[in-house]
């Protein structure tokens, strides 16, 4: 235990120190360097908290299965490039189970799906982007669960946000310094992809929120999991798949 705490303290002191030191050392590339440090620094406290917290066996497996579903989903829809359920599953996890599980599922999906699709310097940025989208959805869970429209908007936002982060990453790595012009050019060329992300997010959210939410409710009811993150049954009603309104 003491050993683990020591490593973490080291991490928390080391990374900011490295960030500052690196920025001084790699003068031209300091944008890229700092952005890398920021992504790592964002993930660490959440991972640390996850480590520290007690998680039951079934809860851990549910998180694992959701992550796996979102990785496997990348394969299942591989015949439609760019059409990925990752964001949707991350957001749904966050809505039903909370911000931290959302972050974990999002970031772990990035890490592990790249294990199949190819790791690269983009991995920390994807972990950061998907993790943050999950975490944010968890914080906005109440309104997002109530209104379908808001959820769709969040899907669009998520698509744009993800694209923005990845373009930012590309800009940092493909030029000596950050130039707005280069960023805009990249974002412009990636526009079709951004639109596809946004559209697929909305489609997946509309198609999967009801079914997956139902199932998460079902196992929560049947086995008493994730009790600390209660959802108001009224919130979920909006997603019952086309139940006749009587």
């Amino acid at each position: 235990m003491r050993y683990r705490r020591l490593t973490l303290v080291l991490f928390f002191l080391l990374i900011p120190a490295v960030a500052v030191g690196g920025a001084l050392l790699f003068r031209e590339k300091h944008y890229a360097w700092i952005s890398l440090c920021v992504t790592v620094l964002t993930c660490l406290p959440i991972f640390y908290d996850f480590e520290r917290r007690e998680t039951g066996a079934a809860e851990l497996m549910v998180l694992s299965v959701l992550t796996s579903l979102s990785v496997a989903g990348r394969f299942l829809f591989a015949w439609l490039p760019g059409f990925k359920p990752v964001t949707a599953i991350t957001v749904i996890t966050a809505l039903w189970l909370g911000a931290e599980p959302g972050f974990i599922v999002g970031s772990m999906t990035a890490l592990l799906s790249n294990f199949y699709f190819g790791q690269g310097p983009w991995t920390p940025f994807q972990m950061f982007a998907w993790g943050l989208l999950g975490g944010l959805a968890g914080l906005l869970a109440k309104p997002l669960r109530r209104h379908k429209l808001l959820l769709c908007l969040y899907g669009i936002f998520a698509g744009v946000f993800f694209s923005m982060v990845m373009d930012l990453f590309s800009t940092f790595w493909m030029g000596e310094t950050f130039t707005l012009k280069r960023y805009l050019a990249l974002a412009g060329s990636a526009l079709p992809l951004t639109i596809e992300y946004a559209v697929s997010n909305v489609i997946f959210l509309l198609a999967l929120t009801g079914p997956i939410g139902d199932k998460l409710d079902r196992i929560r009811g049947k086995y008493g999991l994730f009790r600390e993150h209660e959802t108001d049954p009224d919130d979920i009603r909006a997603f019952a798949p086309d139940e006749s309104t009587e």
Partner: protein, 292 residues
């Protein structure tokens, strides 16, 4: 052939981090060339086949980065042509070529990573720092192939009872969604069973340990004491500005002196380590075999 694979995972990790971070953030062409050559030679000596598509992708990326850089950076002093009245400079083009080479080198090193660390040790270091995440990762690595197989089975099962009719893409998307939904039900139920199996085997008892399969041996320490000083020399050379290069308006490199030469050599040795050890192993093997 697999000197690094046999080492404690900390050794290849240290090497990879040193090589990657230095090449990514330093701007020095000599370092980039070392990294590039180190990766290529290692991939050659381990007979790793890259698909034509991958190689083409790399080349296109390189050209793209090189050619587009001058469009955004106009800092150079030697214009080649004018595009829309803006100079397209030699310096910016050279910088772009360097940048492209650096990206390719990084991508190649990520390929080497697969060879340096055996698959089962990929997440080994996680186990020490973050045991729960490590457990999560190992379960996901088990679930993903399982879910892919089950998705196929479910799709077939539902097709054969006539759930899916038309082969057009709307139907296909819809049916993929149905499969996804059925897969979710199955996998969450499966998660509960797996959770029960974990509890049955004592998960949740206080004081869980992590089974460390790799032992840190003297040789691992030796390797690290080789890697770290080499890294340190390069870092010092970089920090003192001996390896600086500025591209704009004219390309000016810092004058070479002992320290800068040391820095470059140290980094080159670092990059060539996987290649050199592989060659050494190969020679030793053939020598050993010839004596048999």
């Amino acid at each position: 052939m697999d000197t690094f694979r046999r080492r404690h995972p900390l050794v290849p990790l240290t090497l990879l981090l040193s090589v990657l971070l230095l090449v990514m953030f330093a701007q020095t062409p000599t370092l980039t060339v070392s990294a590039f050559l180190g990766a290529v030679l290692f991939l050659c000596v381990t007979k790793t086949k890259l698909s034509v598509k991958t190689v083409l992708c790399y080349l296109v990326l390189w050209v793209l980065v090189a050619v587009t850089n001058p469009l955004f950076s106009t800092g150079g002093a030697t214009p080649i042509v004018f595009v829309n009245g803006r100079p397209y400079t030699k310096e910016a083009l050279l910088y772009g070529i360097h940048l492209g080479a650096m990206l390719i080198a990084v991508l190649l090193w990520f390929r080497c990573d697969r060879l340096l660390v055996p698959e089962e040790n990929r997440f080994y270091l996680f186990g020490g720092i973050a045991p729960k995440l490590a457990l999560l990762i190992t379960t996901v690595l088990r679930f993903v192939p399982l879910l892919r197989r089950r998705a196929g089975e479910m799709r077939a099962a539902q097709t054969a009872v006539g759930v899916y009719d038309d082969p057009d893409w709307i139907h296909r998307t819809k049916s993929s969604m149905t499969t996804m939904s059925a897969l979710t039900t199955w996998s969450l139920e499966h998660a509960i069973d797996a959770g029960a199996a974990m509890k049955a085997r004592g998960y949740g008892l206080p004081g869980r340990t992590t089974y460390r399969t790799c032992r840190f041996r003297t040789m691992d320490g030796v390797c690290i004491t080789v890697i770290l000083p080499l890294t340190a020399v390069t870092v010092v050379a970089l920090a003192t500005g001996r390896l600086d290069i500025s591209y704009y308006p004219n390309i000016i490199t810092a004058p070479a002196d002992t320290l800068s030469r040391c820095g470059v050599t140290a980094y080159a040795v670092l990059c060539l380590l996987p290649f050199l050890t592989s060659v050494k192993e190969a020679i030793r093997w053939s020598f050993y075999r010839s004596k048999m």
